[in-house]
Symmetry: C2
Subunit: 301 residues, 2 copies
């Protein structure tokens, strides 16, 4: 694929129409539910590399990896985080760029970023065969991320056209803020990719984990696909849920859940479905909004 | 109970503190999943009366009824709707006021309202032993409601203190707009009561209906209880889901679902749980919001 890639201001622009004509009618998304090890950057890079190759071998066009896939998660100190985080032009991103170019895939992955300001960010990147297309810093930090020393992001989540569809990106706890999810949906994202590290919490017998339920709602109220890649295993005593899920535009999982198992979960989906927001003869989940009445939600502090 | 009831501007006002001291530590909520018949106002009123008495007999403090509980739903024409809708000082509301006073319950019900402007509204009312406390007109109309001739509301959903807790009210499709749900949650609602008429749609095998999933998410992202009373049965060929559910502040159903059955579903819950928005040592679902970054969502048209 050699389609030039340009971030678009609006999905109705001429570039979007061009992208529509050239891209495949269905795409295969792979979410890699991996066990990683905090601080073992080389080892994690190898695991990610193998997963991306496996996913591409299964026909994946878009490969989603967990949050902080280069570094692992359960840091013992801000110093350990800073020693592990990498710049956006470092060896890990360079490797992901090479993989994307070789395998003709889009990679969305979590990444412990060492900013040029010397601060650490819980970042997600989107890399395609042309290189690093976007990086996004998690705006809603979870629990000990605040004490590890991550700096929260202060920019909206990116939405970009790729050869395989229009993709939005955010990280883990971000997806629990419907306002944030709405931003990418209103920007025309057909697929939201979210690297996560969901801690394992108790839940009532027979209930699907609430994290997955909330992602289903994110998808349904926006008629947008959502692909979540979670961790699995245990890290310094922290058990991970392993809740990787690809949700369709109706809000239902597109494939069976593989709770807690190491797995590469794939689904072949038609992202064009997300371009219609109609849910009945006279209803459209976006046009039915009454934003003039929601102002307090925007202004509330 | 003779506590004076005053709508409050803020849950931190002195009236709220007063209400906290006098109200019970746990309350029983009943959601009445009824079969009703369009246009049969007398018959529907009787069915509602019997359900409220049964619920009160089971210890309910708060009784939630379906959308349009006086009129039924599947109208054939705007004329039929107008002929069936009632004013807020009509016989149905008077009866509900008498029931609330006699049984010491709060009633939240859907109501086909004939406005003093001669228009029909898909309204919900909250009635307690002091009388009609609030009426709210559905702001997000569903499908044929637009052709039946309902006028959409243009005011935010009400949030009021009652002897049994601080309650927000909205109607059916309204709950699918997270911005709308957020408004009542930020206003301090501990319990959102939603009369609904959920049409029965196909869904993948083994999946919980998406309507319930979305209400679970509404509850969890706000740490707020949600009580939904749905219809059951079939009306002029329209099958109803019967998806009545009471969701706890963690976002899980507080009782077993009774999909499609006529049922009065009750749960005894501690609404005080909804006053803490903490979900980890360092996270709070409301304080973690970044409203300064959500502005586009409020301004978007």
């Amino acid at each position: 694929m050699t389609t030039p890639l340009t971030p678009l201001a609006s999905p109705t622009s001429s570039e979007a129409a061009f992208a529509d004509e050239t891209r495949p009618s269905s795409v295969t998304v792979a979410c890699c539910q991996l066990a990683l090890r905090v601080g073992r950057v080389e080892e994690n890079r190898q695991r990610v590399r193998e997963a991306v190759r496996t996913a591409a071998g299964r026909g994946a066009h878009i490969v989603v990896l967990p949050e902080l896939a280069n570094s692992g998660y359960v840091f013992e100190s801000p110093g350990e985080l800073l020693a592990t985080a990498e710049p956006l032009d470092g060896a890990t991103i360079r490797e992901w760029e090479a993989l994307a170019a070789e395998l003709h895939v889009v990679i969305v992955s979590g990444f412990a970023e060492l900013g040029t300001d010397g601060r650490a960010y819980n970042t997600a990147v989107l890399v395609d065969e042309t290189g690093l297309r976007a990086s996004y810093r998690k705006a809603h930090l979870w629990n000990a991320e605040k004490t590890y020393g991550f700096t929260p992001g202060s920019h909206p989540p990116p939405v970009l056209d790729t050869p395989y569809g229009r993709i939005g990106v955010m990280v883990c706890y971000d997806v629990e803020f419907p306002e944030w999810v709405r931003l990418v949906a209103l920007d025309g994202a057909e697929l939201l990719c979210a690297p996560v590290n969901w801690p394992l919490y108790p839940r009532p017998d027979g209930e699907r984990p609430g994290e997955i339920v909330r992602v289903q709602a994110d998808a349904a109220v926006n008629r947008m696909f959502v692909a979540v890649a979670d961790r699995t295993g245990t890290e310094r005593g922290q058990d991970w849920l392993g809740g990787t899920v690809i949700v369709d535009a109706d809000g239902y999982p597109a494939t069976a859940l593989r709770l807690g198992e190491p797995a590469i979960v794939t689904a072949t989906i038609d992202l064009a479905e997300a371009r219609s927001k109609a849910i009945s003869e006279l209803n459209d989940v976006h046009r039915d909004r009454r934003p003039e009445l929601y102002a307090r939600g925007g202004k509330e502090t």
